[in-house]
Structure formats: C-alpha cells, structure tokens
Amino acid sequence: MTTLGQLVISGILIGGIYALMSIGLTLIFGVLRIVNFAHGEFLMLAMYGAWAVTTLLGFNPYVAVLAIVPAMFLFGGIVYRIIISPGLDKPHLVVVFATMGLSIFLQNVALMMMTADLWDVPPIFSHAVIVGALRFKAELLLGFLITILCTVGLQWVIRATYLGKAIRATVQDGEAAMLMGIPVPRIFLITFAGGSALVGLAACVMMPLFSVFPTVGLNFVLIAFVVVVLGGMGSIEGALIGGICIGVVQSLSSYYVAPAFGQMFFFILFLLVMIFRPNGILGQKGAATIGIND
C-alpha cells in the first residue's frame, strides 16, 4: 500500500512538471492554432541558460528564473517575427516544416557549442520531504507548487485582465476582434512570446531534476504533445490534468511492468485518447476532426 501511495504521489508530482512544460505549447496552440515543433528545443535552450546562470554565475536555478523568463520571452518574440508570422497566412504545412527546421537548427547549434555531453546542476535541497511513510524530493514538490501557482495565475490573467479579454476575443473570432480594434498580430506575438517564457520557467524548475543535452527536447516534447492532446489542445487546466495522468501512468507502469515500457504505455494511452476522445478531456468540441488552420 505504501509503495502504491508513494508511486501515485511521485507520479502526480512529476506530472506537475510535465504540465508546466506543456502549458506554453497548449497556450500557443489555443490562440494561434499552430503546433510549435521546436517547443522541446526552446526547453533545451532555456535549460542550458539555467545551467549557465547556475554554474557560471553561481546562482540558485530558482533565481535564474529572473533572467531566463525574460530572455525566453524575447527569444519567442524574435522567433515569432522571423519564422511564425510569415508562415501564418500560408498552408498549415509551412509552419509545421518551418518549426521542425527550427528544431533541427537549434539542436545542432547546441551540439556544436555545448557538445553532446550531459550537464547538470547539484541538488538544491539535501533532504527529502518525509510525510508519514512517504518520501519525495523537495525539488519535485516545489516544482508542483510552482505549476499550481502558474496555472492559477495564467487563468487569472486570461479571465480578469484586459489582455486576457483580448486573447479570448482573438480565440473566439479573429476577424471580429480585429474589427473591434484588437491588434490581433500583437496578441499573437505576446502569446507566442508568453508561451516561450513559460517554457523558460519550466526549464529552471526542471534543471535541478534532469540533465541537459542537445536532444533533451525530443524526449520532453513527445511527453508535452501527449499531455496537451490528453488535456485538450488549448486548455490550461486540461494540461494540468493531462500532465498528472501521464505522470501517474508512467510511474505505475515503470514500477509494475518494466521501466522501458513506461514510455510505450503513454504513447498507447495517447493513441487510445485519439481514437475514442480526440478532443481530449477538456478540449473544444470538433477541434481534432476539423483540422484547424487548414
């Protein structure tokens, strides 16, 4: 029983981290209706940034948030201007291949500059948190709390602020929003940059838990895609629920079946969701079958 409880709690906590790195992807999809195939490489870049701030400047990775989040916001804005914005009015495929090209580009720039070695930062907390018979890493717990705060904060921004209202109007009907004087291209820019900034936050939270290497993005982006589709593309609460589902599935299947099959299980889960509930748990009706942005 303790083992099961431990596994479920660890799964939930790691799922929170997965959710955090997926929120940016789901936000960008929800507003711009594009899938950023370079999302994993944004994460990789931000993780290198967090590693550099921690190792070279001697700060704590959580302090690195102050530098990495604005830097990723800026980076996202530049990528939007150069690659995403020229492709938005072209067929759907153009953005898919352009972001995939960007993904290969960033991976190999990282490979050239940082080599294929694994880099990590020393653990922040020397003790695990112990509750009764359960033990878990303090970094995971902190990451989970940050995810919850981030989800709530983002919901507040979208529900209560003027910017959020403009974003919602853009999602509902871009043309009508434009006619009402909402600068839709700027909303797109802010959303894309904001989504990238969230990836920066996720990278700082993940740095004490995972090593960084040039293809680290590929491992995580597949998880992020599964999380986002499971929760319903474009849904922020959905990403949190999807992340937790994936975390628990992975944690249980790698203990009870075999570690190697942990990954396979969530891809199968993904395909099952696609067959039976293609719009995810909290997604919009019809999103998957219309083939948005075609």
Binding site: F29, I34, V35, I83, P86, G87, K90, P91, H92, L93, V94, V96, F97, A98, M100, G101, L102, S103, I104, F105, Q107, N108, V109, L111, M112, T115, A116, P214, L218, L222, F225, V226, V229, M233, A258, A260, F261, Q263, M264, F267, I268, F270, L271, M274, I275, P278, A287, A288, T289, I290, G291, I292, N293, D294
Partner: protein, 339 residues
Amino acid sequence: MSIEPLAPPKKPKRLPVLPQRGKLSMFEIALFVACLVLIAVELSQNLRDVMVLTFLFAGLGLAWNIAGGYAGLISFGHAAFFGIGAYTSTILFVSAGLTPWIGLWCGGVLAAAAGALLALICARLRGPFFILSTLAAAEVVRIGALNWSSLTGGPEGLSILPVANVANMVFVSKTAYAVLMLAYVVFVYAITKALEGSRYGYYLFAVRDDEEAASAAGVNPLLVRTAAMGLSAFLTGIGGSLFAQYFLYLDPTFVISPELSFQFALLPAVGGLGTAIGPVLGSFLITPLSELLRSYLGNAAAGLHLVIYSAGLIVVMLYFPGGLAAALNRLGRGWKRKP
C-alpha cells in the same frame, strides 16, 4: 492546388519539356539518362555511397509523397513502416533463409497492413492531431522493437552476414547497389506517375482539397485515404528492405527514429509536395549536400551540416512553399516566354 479543368483531348505532337501531371516529359527522361551516366562513370567509393543514398532517399521521399503530398496525410511516422520492411526481410533472411528478393515484398505487405491500420485508427483526425498520432504510433513500434529482443535482437540490432551473392541481394560493388536503388526509384516513380494521371489520383486530390465536396461527389474519403496510406507504407517498407541489404545492420534507434520520419517528409517538402518530380529533386539536392557537408565538416564541427541544412529548409518553406518543382516550372515558363 486546384484540379486542372479537363481539357478536350489533344494529340500531343511531342513530349512536353517539363514534368506534367500524368505525362512523361523530356526533363524526366534526361534526368534518368543522367543517372545512368552517373552510375557508369568511374567515381570514388565515397561518391558512390552518396549516390546510393540519394537514390534510396529519392524513392522513400516519393513513397512518403503519395500519402503526404497527394492524399494530404502528413505522417511523421513513416520510419515505422521503413523499420517493419527492413526487419521483416532481414528476419526472414537470417532465421528462415528466405531470399530478400522475396522477403522485401513480404516486408512491403506487412508495412502496408500497418499503414492501412494507422489510417483507420486516425480516420477522424486532421491537421496537427493526425501528425502527432503518427509520431506516437511510430514511437510505440520503436519501443516495441527495442524490447522484443528475441525477434529483433533488441538494442544490439541485427546483422546480415556479408556473403556477396546475387541470391542474397548482397553485392561487393557499390555500382550494383546504385543500379538496384535506381530501379527502386523508377518503380516508385512509375507508380506515382500512373497514380496521378488515374481516376484514383483525382480522388486523392479531391479528398485532400475538399473532403466534404469529394464525399458529396461519391468518393469514399476513408477508403481513398486508407488505400493511399497503405500504398505509401508498402513502398516505404520495400525501401526499408533495400536499406537493410545495403547497410547489412539494423537497430531500432536508427531505423525507426523520429528523425528518419522527418527526413522522409522533408525531401518532398523541399522538392515540392504533391508532384512526382518534387521528392526526386529534393533528394538530389539535399541528400548529396548533407552527406558531403557531413563528410567534409563532420569532424571539424559536429552538427554544422544540419545547421546549414535546417536553415535552408526554413527559408525554402517560408519563401518558396511550392518547392523546387514550382521553381522549375517558373523557370520553364520564363524561358518559354522569350522568343
């Protein structure tokens, strides 16, 4: 990309210069002759190797294009079909002694079955959802192959004994492989050409461009889509078997990698989606470029060749979305206009 109106039948006096849908052109014949000349010319082993890969990937790009370009089924999971083809012929050869000349058809049929199954599973999905599902399906196949060691040899992979023999489809000279791969390209190209001029080809375009209208006109989109994916997977599986016979070694991390799936998709994307000549031009430009960049820069700067390659891809996608085939047509039109 709209369907061309059906023109009243005219008797063509001579072959068109540039590739046209469903017709053989002088350009294609010239390209084929140039390939034959290249095979006949004395080249270094290294260049021969590049040539073999260029032909193989041209065929694989063409096979992907049937699903991705003609039917609009953008799949990032074709490495699974490639792997199924490669493993089927190799396992049949290594453990049952069946010659790869027969084994490759078996691999193709298994891959086709997998492709049709995937198309049925993803029948309702469109756009990014379809892409991500194919990616996930290929990952399931990869992890499966990695862990089913008794069949696939797991992470250590499978080797084919390098006993050169025509019956084993193992050759000493790279020229023989170049001929084999060129035959593969011609085979897939002929199927593509026959497809695009046929009634079924028009069904594909109709389903890709407007599914509801196609459905209203009496075309069954599910059937058309499944058949296209099956055919594409079949041809990709055959390419996988040929790859296995050339490298004589298989391991799941390479043969079923997402990177390989991306590569199958990139060649037609750069060359021109939904055209027969596109993937060929894409492979003829990109495969030698990336192979040569790799061999010249590889040691000095790991990854530089892919940096150049991906930057080129982004520029082509954003500013020349029709790819090389469209550029060729534009060039041809400009040339014709001059007296």
